[in-house]
């Protein structure tokens, strides 16, 4: 519900400039890797937010769409040599279709029931891909090492192109989210979130708008999936369709502030570095301390700052006015 004030635009542009300059200043691989992951998860969070934070459908199954995107483009690349950029769009469309197919029967599910249904759906997809010989089942798909180029969507010598591509994807997602949020559609989403029944009585076609939310969300998540495949060059159901990935997406969106455009971005910016850094510093002893800290933080944030960081910032921002 943020209207764009000159202050916001300035801050936003400043941050953008900083992000663009970042890889020129920081050339080490690990920080770049963290930033790429931050962008990717932020995009997934923004995608989730469209259906969860705005339309009130708390999905814990986003990994399914992420995975479908990754698998569609990779399968097309390996089997039919389809260019990954076309595969990207194809993946998004397939994910959106699947989303509609599953979204329709689930369109009158509320709150907890919807959440569990999303988990059930994602698990079914994962088990299916794990056994589907067409996509190599559990063995996964290894992407071939093509020549490095933008057209091939593959780079070997440096992470920097990946950095900019993911940043661009994130910006696309944010723009989509912003338009959804400030448009009539977004208004209807929020009405549905507040109360299904009231929205219906007021003449909102609840089913149609719910489907739209899910489809947009799925498309964006699938884009991130294709990126992941082109980045890591190997996908299998265990790594792209895992419940833990879905949960992570919800957690960072909530942490950052669900129902606000920038919320998931902040959530990703905080949680992902923490997860990566604590793993590097503490993980190698095998004691799980890094995840302990992670779990602790999540619990604390839920209790003391449920509106997320964005909620906190806006309260401060309001006070400053």
């Amino acid at each position: 519900m943020k209207n764009l004030s000159p202050k916001h635009v300035t801050v936003g542009l400043a941050v953008l400039v900083l992000l663009i300059i970042f890889p020129m200043v920081v050339t080490q691989i690990f920080p770049l890797q963290i930033m790429i992951l931050v962008f990717m998860y932020a995009m997934l969070g923004v995608a989730w937010n469209i259906m969860g934070g705005y339309a009130g459908m708390f999905s814990f199954g986003q990994a399914a769409f992420f995975g479908i995107g990754a698998y569609t483009s990779s399968f097309l690349l390996v089997t039919f040599h389809v260019n990954p950029w076309i595969g990207l769009i194809a993946g998004g469309l397939v994910a959106a279709l699947v989303a509609a197919a599953i979204g329709y029967p689930c369109s009158n599910l509320r709150g907890h029931y919807f959440a569990i249904a999303s988990i059930a759906f994602a698990e079914i997809v994962r088990v299916h891909f794990n056994n589907w010989t067409l996509v190599n089942a559990a063995e996964g798909i290894s992407l071939p090492m093509l020549d490095e180029s933008f057209i091939n969507f593959m780079f070997h010598n440096s992470k920097v192109p990946y950095y900019y591509i993911m940043l661009a994807f994130l910006i696309i997602a944010l723009v989509v989210c912003y338009f959804v949020a400030t448009s009539k559609m977004g208004y209807y989403f929020r009405a549905i979130k507040e109360s299904h029944d009231v929205a219906e009585v007021l003449g909102v076609n609840v089913v149609r708008y719910r489907l739209m939310a899910i489809m947009i969300s799925a498309f964006l998540s699938a884009m991130a999936g294709t990126f992941y495949a082109q980045y890591v060059l190997y996908i299998d159901p265990e790594s792209v369709m895992l419940l833990a990935v879905s949960v992570q997406i919800v957690l960072l969106s909530m942490l950052g502030g669900a129902g606000s455009v920038m919320g998931p971005v902040i959530g990703a910016a905080v949680l992902i570095p923490i997860a990566e850094v604590t793993r590097v510093w503490l993980g190698h002893k095998g004691t799980g301390v890094d995840m302990l800290i992670y779990g602790f933080l999540i619990t604390i944030i839920s209790v003391y700052q449920p509106q997320g960081v964005w909620g906190l910032l806006s309260r401060i921002g309001n006070k400053i006015k």
């Binding site: 029931y113 569990i116 004691t287 799980g288």
Partner: protein, 293 residues
């Protein structure tokens, strides 16, 4: 897949029996979850981890004090009850007034914390309690009943019935049911709903702690053991209808049967997909679950 006519009736019966055995275990796990859900509208995503703690409690009581798992059940009940009340008082109660998302997420945080605490304290290794008083199988012709499993399942049924009676017959139990049905009305009737919340969370945890103690008599124990059990429990509770104890019980048995028979007749690799599929289909037809309101 082999042809139907190649299956002997004893094999079918064996599978049904096993489905029931695992089903009763599931029921007990699910009942605790649905109680919490019904009373305070919180999906306890840490439920699987409570199960894990129950299993470890039983393991350590055995290893350190030589206590047979069957005898440590009351201790597990108490331990998990206290833990549940503690977690409610100091963490969950504070999100009760917050947004739904915070309520969903806080138990996830607790779950991550607990499973990694277990890794930290007890290492990720797998433990098994060696067969003690209960071991071996009863053979009825072609049907084999694992004694530990059977005792665990019967124990689950007994515990479930005890809970059912407690809720229906005791004053506190009725207060819990009342709060579950209509919070406002219960408040008006002078019921201290905060205390009921606390109590219910504790009992819910205690129940799954007992399930863990039963399960530890034949299943391996490790920090992430709660994962799949927890996942299945959510499906069972939603299938049965949130808040309905009877629903959770029946759904637990149904899921146990579906898993076993589905795996036997169809493909074990899809076992759990079948369980989730059944949940989805039931929910589509009857959004409030089998016995939910």
């Amino acid at each position: 897949m082999l042809a139907r006519n190649e299956i002997m009736p004893e094999q079918l019966l064996q599978q049904i029996v096993n489905g029931l055995l695992i089903g009763f275990m599931y029921s007990l796990i699910a009942i605790g979850l649905t109680l919490i859900w019904g009373v305070m509208n919180i999906v306890n995503f840490a439920h699987g981890e409570f199960l894990m703690i129950g299993m470890f409690a039983s393991f350590w009581l055995f290893t350190v004090y030589g206590l047979d798992p069957l005898f440590s059940i009351p201790i597990c009940f108490l331990l998990l009850f206290l833990m549940g009340v503690f977690i409610y008082r100091f963490i969950v109660s504070k999100v009760m007034k917050g947004p739904m998302l915070a309520q969903l997420v806080v138990t996830f945080g607790i779950s991550i914390f607990l499973s990694n605490l277990a890794v930290y304290l007890w290492t990720p290794d797998f433990r098994l309690i060696p067969p003690t008083i209960l071991q071996g199988t009863w053979d009825f012709g072609e049907i084999n009943l694992s004694i530990p499993k059977t005792v665990a399942s019967l124990g689950s049924v007994v515990t479930s019935v005890c809970l059912f009676l407690f809720l229906r017959k005791s004053k506190t139990g009725k207060a819990i049911l009342a709060t579950e049905m209509d919070r406002e009305a219960a408040l008006l009737m002078g019921i201290n709903t905060e205390r009921i919340n606390s109590l219910s969370f504790g009992i819910g945890a205690a129940l799954v702690g007992v399930a863990g103690a039963f399960l530890s008599t034949y299943y391996y124990i490790y920090p992430q053991v709660g994962g799949l059990f927890g996942l299945i429990a959510f499906s069972i509770v939603a299938l049965g209808g949130f808040g309905s104890i009877e629903g959770a019980f029946i759904a637990g048995v149904l899921v146990g049967l579906a898993q076993t028979l589905g795996g036997f007749f169809f493909d074990p690799a899809y076992k759990y997909a079948i369980v989730f599929m059944i949940y989805l289909i039931t929910i589509w037809i009857r959004p409030q679950g089998l016995l939910g309101w």
